[in-house]
């Protein structure tokens, strides 16, 4: 095989980061994959191949329920975050004028607080004696505090939607910025209403940003540990909480690995199908 000058120079630079990623990412992922086919008896690891962990992960109702809930939560969060983020990104891109950078700065400020504390504060907002309940009481809307606000999937959805907002706003903003404004002028001159303009030009052209935002939110949120643990209560726990429990407290690292691999497979598969379905949009524009 012949290596060109470009190959040599490129790899001379990329060598070190590549070795780092192999050692700290490829090797650990492969080890986890191997571990998922082994079994653990208290602290002793038995290295004989078995599918028992996957059988348990896929067919036990406990885990099925957790997978379903995690999927529903992260899909809802993705949908909500993007629907809220789009108008905001649209506003900044089209009406931000010279202050676009300042607007983006304002949007990111709240996210410079610790993620842990932000999620914890949702507990304070949604709790029994929380901010919302005391506010409603003060307004006279309710006499007894609402209990359905905290410790369920909805609380997890609200907190995650908040936590991931900037990750949706930024990619959508970038794709809106890329739209050639003369296209809008042309369509206006040719008689499009603002409504038509939005659906025929702005929305289709922003699809790459929407796809980016979807993936960047959907994949990590399914593995969120902190939020369900803090605001989810027993009915709002997600798969990450089970992965952690199996790994540490239950001393069943192989099952934990099988659950991890399974969740990666599920999100990976859904993401690939999602990108494939939207291939048309990614290619045309």
């Amino acid at each position: 095989m012949n290596f060109s000058d470009q190959d040599k120079k490129g790899w001379r630079l990329l060598g070190l980061p590549f070795i780092f990623s192999v050692l700290l990412l490829a090797v650990p992922l492969a080890t986890m994959f191997a571990l998922s086919f082994w079994t653990q008896d208290y602290l002793v690891l038995k290295k004989t191949f078995t599918l028992a962990n996957y059988k348990e992960a896929w067919f036990e109702p406990v885990y099925q329920k957790l997978f379903n809930r995690s999927l529903i939560i992260s899909m809802t969060v993705t949908f909500l975050t993007i629907s809220f983020a789009f108008p905001v990104a649209y506003f900044i891109s089209f009406y931000g004028g010279r202050r676009k950078a300042l607007w983006l700065f304002f949007i990111t400020i709240p996210f410079w607080t610790s993620y842990l504390l932000r999620m914890f504060l949702w507990k304070v907002i949604l709790g029994y004696n929380g901010v919302l309940n005391s506010f409603f009481k003060w307004l006279g809307i309710i006499t007894e505090p609402l209990t359905f606000l905290l410790y369920n999937s909805n609380a997890v959805i609200i907190a995650l939607t908040h936590g991931w907002a900037p990750f949706a706003i930024l990619p959508i903003f970038v794709s809106l910025e890329k739209i050639d404004r003369s296209l809008l002028e042309a369509s206006k001159d040719l008689g499009d209403s603002s409504f038509q303009q939005f659906f025929r030009i702005i929305l289709p052209l922003s699809i790459p940003g929407l796809i980016g935002a979807t993936l960047i939110i959907f994949i990590p949120t399914i593995g969120d540990y902190i939020t369900p643990k803090l605001v989810g209560g027993p009915d709002g726990l997600m798969i990450a909480n089970m992965i952690q429990v199996q790994f540490s407290k239950a001393n069943n690292a192989p099952l934990s690995a099988a659950l991890s691999v399974s969740s990666l497979l599920i999100v990976g598969l859904i993401s690939i199908i999602f990108v494939f379905l939207n291939k048309k949009h990614l290619r045309t524009f």
């Binding site: 470009q6 990329l14 986890m32 304070v124 908040h162 992965i243």
Partner: protein
């Protein structure tokens, strides 16, 4: 058109209130004299801030976090510089796959990174320490550093490099005297973003730290005790103010650089 614009503005303001709600509560409760975190407020007090001065575990955790954040952001920026330079300057075999792989931690759930790193460490029989957290954080930050630096390197004008080589500088001098000064804003933002991400990261630190807690691990342990909540709020307020100062300073600096480079290209 005017009407939709107005509706949109109302929506954006509503959304901003939603975004700011938790961050605004933080200082409110940290100056509230009551130990219970709820409304109505009972009175102004700074005692919770005073309490922080006597928490030795907190000071150790803070020091641990600062060491980890400095080391991992420096390491990630170094590796990110190599990656970004390779990707922006050369086209070579296996480039796309390797780049995709290096960027993978950007979307991998952190719990999975934590579990698989810990699995390997246990298999190798290595002890957990601050160093294992540094490695984990470097892995997590590297994609961010790479993306930031990639845009810095992509903006470089290749003819400046060629001119420098033509005028007799060697590759090292060119890198040191021409390329490096031009990507400095990128390097600084990479260091800063990496520092902030590492300082705030919980799950990987939770899995990979041994007996020494990092700041988020410490905060996590405090959230279980209602009596400790007000001082934890005070700690959060301090963190918020510090990161605001850092980010504002950075934003100001970035704009000055931008203006300066615009002036340069205009030939002023």
């Amino acid at each position: 058109m005017y009407k939709t614009n107005k509706l949109l503005k109302i929506f954006v303001i509503g959304f901003l209130i939603f975004l700011y709600a938790p961050a605004v509560l933080l200082p409110i409760f940290s100056f509230n004299s009551s130990q219970v975190i709820s409304f109505p407020l009972s009175g102004f007090s700074t005692k919770w801030f005073g309490q922080l001065l006597n928490e030795d575990t907190l000071h150790d955790a803070l020091l641990n976090s600062l060491i980890i954040a400095v080391l991992s952001s420096a390491l990630a920026t170094m590796l990110g510089t190599l990656t970004a330079r390779a990707a922006s300057r050369y086209k070579f075999f296996g480039q796309k796959v390797t780049m995709g792989f290096i960027l993978l931690p950007l979307i991998l759930p952190e719990i999975i990174l934590g579990v698989c790193l810990l699995t390997v460490l246990i298999q190798l029989g290595l002890n957990l320490s601050l160093w294992t957290v540094v490695l984990g954080h470097t892995l997590l930050i590297l994609p961010f550093a790479t993306l930031i630096l990639l845009s810095a390197f992509n903006n470089l004008n290749i003819s400046l490099e060629e001119a420098s080589l033509d005028l007799g500088m060697n590759a090292w001098q060119t890198f040191y005297k021409i390329i490096l000064p031009m990507v400095t804003p990128g390097l600084i933002s990479s260091l800063l973003i990496g520092f902030v991400i590492s300082l705030d990261e919980f799950i990987i630190a939770f899995f990979l730290t041994g007996v020494d807690p990092t700041l988020p691990v410490y905060i996590w342990s405090q959230l279980r005790f209602p009596a400790k909540l007000p001082s934890t709020m005070a700690l959060g307020t301090i963190l918020l103010i510090v990161s605001l100062i850092l980010v504002s300073f950075f934003e100001y600096y970035r704009r000055r650089i931008e203006k300066y480079s615009q002036a340069l290209t205009r030939g002023k």
